[in-house]
Amino acid sequence: MTSEQLQQLQGASVGEQVVELEVEREGNVYQMVGVLMQVTEDSVRIAFSSKNDKVVDALTLPAEEIVGVRLIPESEISQV
């Protein structure tokens, strides 16, 4: 993760901001989307689902595996 990407995530609202990350691991590139839960210099945690407002599925990603970051504007997210 570049310092620009880290700054971008640090400026986002934890627990609310939806983010799309590109992650490279063992030669494969993955795309994932979730709610930003925690940002440190070493890792980023995103949540995929919750039950009664408690996170039930989340993932912590090492910063060095993150190759792309996109903050999704609220206007791009539709509610189902």
Partner: protein, 173 residues
């Protein structure tokens, strides 16, 4: 088929075991966020996907067998909060009746191809019928589709089924 990033609110069945006597029997709201695609009666919420396969072969396989999902949920459309306002017509039943309920389950998938929501069958004793759900005692549940048939929630002592997920109910004579 459309692909979008969406927040999805839905309901799911819940159950309680002997060791969870303090657990409430109210259905809790669920929320998920991911890439949403529609597939017939279900939606697929993909949390993690591999980047689009580059080879033609991989694309054809995905087209025929369905997309490979690294991590996601298959949710029956009836479970969505926006679409669950037409519950099944309930037969006459009272507390203590034995019923057989066929219902659609929410399915977690990991490193697998998309499949339609699972169909389950639960046999149990009616404890309470409420506005949006039914509570069963001593439930036994089997997945009846897709094969193979498999027991589900085998240690449950009570189960709450949202009416919107129910496909049919039969009262044992």
């Amino acid at each position: 088929m459309t692909t979008n990033i969406r927040k999805v609110q839905f309901v799911d069945a819940a159950y309680r075991t002997d060791s969870e006597t303090n657990k409430g029997l109210d259905l809790k709201p669920h929320e998920a966020c991911g890439y949403v695609t529609e597939h017939g009666d279900s939606i697929l919420v993909t949390f993690i996907q591999r980047m689009r396969p580059t080879s033609l072969y991989a694309r054809i396989v995905a087209l025929i067998l369905g997309p490979m999902v690294v991590k996601g949920l298959v949710i029956p459309k009836n479970a969505l909060h926006t679409q669950n306002d037409t519950p099944v017509e309930l037969p006459e039943m009272v507390e203590g009746d034995i019923v057989s309920v066929t219902w659609a389950d929410v399915v977690y998938i990991a490193n697998n191809r998309f499949r339609q929501a699972h169909t389950m069958r639960t046999r149990g004793v009616v404890q309470e019928v409420r506005n949006n759900d039914i509570v069963l005692r001593n439930p036994t549940t089997k997945r009846i589709w897709p094969f193979p048939r498999r027991e589900h929630a085998h240690n449950a002592t009570q189960m709450v089924l949202p009416l919107c997920l129910i496909k049919s109910i039969k009262v044992a004579s």
